[in-house]
């Protein structure tokens, strides 16, 4: 089977790529040796991952690229048994473990690993074409690339740079996450995409440094996006376009909201399909978001149950979290952890919050929270937050145990599993 390849790839071959302190272009990026096909290329830095992508764009070889830390030994075994040679790339050096199963390559196929937030990561098949969801001509921009190589969000930024002219990239390695605004300001980054946790951490660490980055486009995704973080970014960047995107490896980028509000308009649900546009079809079944998307992964055409829970608030549909963990049953009364989190993060002194169920006598479960307070606006006490919540939530939704953390936790995926 041959996957369709996109003919527009490499239009961005002369775009600037800043990685590991070096400024090159896609064209002058170091070359990987001829890769086997299929190959799972495991990297520990962004430059090698981009080199693997360019190799794929030129040669069409079947490719999975991911950070080595996301692919443990047993998963490497599984990849070998599924026909992938496992390539450990490190600059000009690389090692290859041949595939255990010989099979015909799927030319043009790109594989992604799901985040694994609901269990073991799954492989989802795409192509450069299906991953390239921004197809309208963009004004010249320099994009920040803070995501872990191989994730859907990473591919979204990478394909913009690879397929459009004047779309530079500034790669941020994990070791540079704490100081990325300095690097971004130095290289004139004008567009940046990150999770809400990523943005919160940056604001928490150094708002002043962030404000010096000349951002014109700010994008959030990968986690539920709340109004408080959108408002905070608007304060810092009053002129920028601020967007949030609902995207996943399975259904692609399916919801894009530019109006500066959390959630999406209720009117977007159950709209008649428009054959002229690539608009996904959105619906809700028993609180679960259902998406039929033209940007879906291989074999995932038709309606896909996302596993994400929604709540209706006025004329908006809020995505509150995962269906299996968002709803907390407190003595028979149900409350959304996502909505409680939104209330907590709406407090001016709260920089980050996680809300979860805790086993409790009499009522079965109680709402509990972990909170990081803003260094500028603290200190606050748990009583302050309980008071804040009691004016905005029913009794059973108020977090009864609140633990204060010293720093915002963040994983390699830039998420914090809220």
């Amino acid at each position: 089977m041959t996957a369709r390849r996109r003919s527009t790839a490499l239009i961005g071959d002369d775009n600037t790529v800043v990685a590991g302190g070096r400024t090159v272009t896609w064209r002058t990026l170091h070359k990987l040796p001829q890769l086997p096909s299929p190959a799972a290329v495991l990297v520990d830095n962004g430059a090698d991952a981009l080199a693997a992508v360019r190799h794929h764009a030129v040669h069409g070889t079947e490719l999975l690229v991911a950070t080595g830390s996301r692919v443990d030994l047993s998963m490497r075994e599984e990849l070998g048994e599924s026909g992938f040679a496992v390539v450990i790339a490190k600059g000009d050096e690389h090692s290859v473990t041949p595939a255990k199963l010989k099979r015909v390559e799927e030319s043009g196929r790109v594989w992604l690993l799901t985040s694994g937030s609901t269990g073991r990561p799954k492989r989802i098949g795409h192509t450069l074409e299906s991953l390239t969801t921004v197809t309208t001509q963009q004004q010249p921009r320099t994009w920040l690339l803070p995501y872990a190589p191989g994730t859907y969000a990473w591919w979204q930024v990478v394909t913009i740079s690879l397929t459009q002219a004047d779309q530079g990239l500034v790669v941020i390695e994990p070791s540079e996450l704490e100081t990325w605004p300095l690097i971004a300001a130095e290289h004139g980054v004008t567009a940046a995409s990150g999770t809400p946790t990523f943005w919160r951490q940056t604001i928490y660490r150094d708002t002043e440094a962030l404000a010096k980055v000349p951002l014109e486009q700010i994008t959030l995704g990968g986690e539920p996006v709340d109004q408080a973080i959108l408002d905070r970014l608007r304060e810092i960047f009053p002129q920028a376009r601020i967007s949030w995107i609902y995207a996943s490896s399975e259904v692609g980028a399916s919801i894009v909201v530019h109006d500066g509000k959390a959630g999406f308009p209720r009117a977007w649900l159950d709209r008649e399909p428009d054959p002229e546009s690539e608009r996904p079809f959105l619906s809700v079944d028993k609180d679960e978001l259902i998406i039929t998307s033209p940007h879906h992964g291989a074999g995932l055409d038709g309606a896909v149950r996302t596993g994400d829970r929604v709540e209706f608030v006025d004329d908006r549909v809020l995505i509150t979290g995962r269906l299996d963990s968002d709803e907390i049953n407190v003595g028979g009364s149900k409350v959304s952890a996502g909505l409680v989190r939104n209330v907590l993060m709406g407090h001016p002194a709260v920089a980050w919050a996680r809300v979860f169920a805790r086993k409790a006598p009499l009522v079965g479960r109680m709402v509990a929270a972990e909170v990081v307070t803003s260094p500028d606006l603290g200190p606050i006490t748990d009583a302050d937050l309980v008071q804040w919540c009691s004016n905005r939530l029913p009794d059973y939704g108020i977090p009864r145990r609140i633990k204060f953390l010293d720093a915002i936790p963040q994983k390699e995926t830039l998420k914090s599993d809220v």
Partner: protein, 104 residues
């Protein structure tokens, strides 16, 4: 990582349970925690053990919160099945019950 206070662990009673040493709160420490639960609701815990829970607005959610606070302090889960169900109507009943749970 956490700066949740564990200061009440100082001065607690403890008894050996096998090889594990379990901390136990005194009645006065439990009363302090109960007061903290009330305070977070903007209420005050009366000094008298005879105060009626309904009258002071101490509800099942508050009782559950108190249990969690006790668990956090002693670093262990309370076994609510052990003493069996009983009527809890007064402040003193709450303190008795939690005391009994700790030693169950």
């Amino acid at each position: 990582m956490s700066n949740t206070s564990c200061s009440r662990l100082q001065g607690m009673n403890s008894h050996a349970l096998g090889s594990v040493v379990m901390a136990e709160l005194t009645r006065e420490q439990i009363r302090d925690l109960m007061g903290a639960v009330m305070k977070a609701q903007g209420k005050t815990l009366p000094a008298e053990d005879s105060a009626d829970l309904r009258e002071i607005g101490f509800r099942s959610l508050d009782f559950s919160e108190l249990a969690l606070r006790v668990e956090d302090e002693i670093g262990d889960e309370l076994n609510f099945d052990a003493p069996g169900l009983r009527q809890i109507a007064k402040v003193g009943d709450v303190l008795d019950f939690i005391e009994q749970l700790q030693s169950a």
